[in-house]
């Protein structure tokens, strides 16, 4: 058993309007693990994601990345190690060209120009977007922007990749191609999604979060086969989809 790279211990978080988004979450993810975080809308999944790189801080409890607790002094290192790909790529891509946007993260790490350049090249290559490097983001299709957004995070060379709804708004081909890119990555993957087949395809483990608590945790084959559990948390496999008996 590899030591956990992400550890949450009794994390509580409430938004200023009093809504308890996380109500005592304890979880740990091992290095290289691929975990799907499932749950209904408003269950606290996105809030959980934002705790993994210190964008939100627990009001009580602790979050540790690679054994280091997230605090002001470890924040930069945490954000290097944990990359978050947001649901809407337009929230991420703000620079005038694709290459400049991908360079933003590594440049923030204080790397020199050559090192940044190498990171940009290899990240764009990983997602197959080298040919659009000098284009402005608004000239790209949604699927292309999504891939560039992933490249922007991969250029930080994170140990953990957190994805919020990776398959949303993608057409079937982009969805499959994006899955292939993710599947080829060695990183620990944490993905929040409603797309259960997508989760099954990419992840080995599933965590169900509902009302700010962990309501289920185990191998994704077991979780997705547990109809009562899925039903209790407003999760449904698509009509006509049945879990393959073997991968």
């Amino acid at each position: 058993m590899t030591p956990p790279i992400v550890e949450l211990d009794d994390v509580h978080f409430a938004y200023p309007d009093g809504q308890h988004a996380l109500d005592g979450v304890t979880l740990s993810f091992g290095a290289g693990e691929r975990v799907a975080v499932l749950g209904p809308n408003g269950a606290g999944k996105s809030t959980l994601c934002l705790h993994l790189n210190g964008i939100l801080r627990p009001q009580s409890g602790t979050v540790r990345i690679g054994g280091t607790e997230i605090d002001d002094s470890s924040l930069t290192e945490v954000r290097r190690r944990v990359g978050v790909v947001f649901q809407d790529p337009d929230d991420m891509l703000f620079m005038p060209t694709v290459a400049q946007d991908v360079a933003f993260g590594p440049a923030n790490l204080g790397l020199d120009r050559d090192a940044v350049q190498r990171r940009v090249d290899s990240a764009l290559q990983m997602v197959g977007m080298t040919h659009v490097r000098d284009r402005p983001p608004h000239h790209l299709s949604f699927g292309q922007r999504k891939r560039v957004a992933a490249a922007a995070v991969l250029a930080m060379e994170p140990d953990v990749l957190v994805l919020d709804e990776p398959s949303s708004n993608l057409d079937p081909r982009s969805r499959r191609e994006f899955a292939e890119i993710l599947d080829a990555l060695p990183q620990t993957l944490v993905m929040v999604t409603h797309d259960l087949p997508y989760a099954w395809q990419l992840c080995h483990r599933a965590v169900i979060v509902d009302e700010g608590r962990v309501a289920g945790d185990g191998p994704i084959d077991h979780i997705l086969a547990d109809d009562a559990l899925l039903d209790a948390h407003a999760l449904e496999l698509p009509e006509g989809f049945s879990l393959p008996t073997q991968r």
Partner: protein, 245 residues
């Protein structure tokens, strides 16, 4: 009026993406020279007709070399109409109004054409790169680049909201029929506000701590063409300003 923002930003982008001797110049050479033309024109005294005409001739010549489409350029020039109206008021009100009004109109046209040439021969990322290389504070460059980037995103959102209204039978053709404009603007504002928040979170996720790093890769380089352009333009407008006045 299909794409709410289509004609403006997209039109400039399309023309700036073309190719000509002027398009190929270093953005710094264009920025410095064309701003210089505008400044020299502004400082030329009223009634120095030949100087004013030479200055206007110079920028028009550059526009011709850049092969800017005539209709496109004229449509961009509409921006100076309100100022021309002000110049017209001057003609009516002031004693030597005719001279001053016409001088103002010429100066304005020179500056506007200069800026159209600059923005229509330089793709925006390159223009920003030029300003950054000229030591414009990076935070200013970043703000302008944000504006440009999210203008497109907001334009699309505006367009979608418009279509959604039309889909529900909204058919306003005139401004005074737009009773629903207020709520729409408010909705767009709220969306932009939360978008801004998410953009900031995404930036922070990538290690942003308030200082914008340099992200441009290939350094700009001035060559003989840039030097010739700068020398010719500067010589022409300054000579006109000093000799012909």
């Amino acid at each position: 009026m299909s794409g709410a923002h289509g004609h403006g930003a997209a039109g400039v982008e399309a023309v700036a993406a073309r190719d000509s001797a002027i398009h190929r110049l270093d953005p710094r050479a264009k920025i410095v020279c064309l701003i210089l033309v505008a400044v020299v024109a502004a400082s030329t005294p009223a009634g120095a007709w030949s100087a004013l005409l030479v200055q206007l001739g110079v920028v028009v010549a550059v526009a011709v070399v850049a092969r800017l489409p005539l209709r496109y350029t004229l449509r961009r020039m509409v921006i100076e109409v309100p100022f021309l109206v002000a110049a017209l008021v001057l003609v009516v009100v002031a004693g030597d109004g005719g001279v001053r009004g016409l001088t103002l109109a010429l100066k304005l046209t020179t500056s506007v054409v200069a800026m159209i040439v600059l923005s229509s021969t330089t793709p925006f990322p390159r223009l920003l790169h030029g300003f950054e290389a000229l030591r414009t504070p990076r935070v200013i460059v970043l703000i302008v680049s944000f504006m440009w980037r999210y203008l497109h995103v907001l334009g699309e959102e505006w367009h979608r909201m418009r279509i959604a209204r039309q889909a529900r039978g909204h058919t306003a053709r005139w401004l005074w029929q737009e009773w629903s404009l207020g709520p729409v603007v408010a909705a767009l504002f709220l969306r932009s506000l939360s978008r801004g928040e998410r953009v900031y979170l995404a930036m922070a996720s990538r290690g942003f701590v308030g200082t914008a790093p340099a992200t441009t890769m290939t350094p700009l380089s001035l060559d003989a063409a840039d030097a010739m352009f700068a020398a010719a333009l500067t010589a022409a407008v300054i000579a006109a300003r000093t000799v012909l006045v």
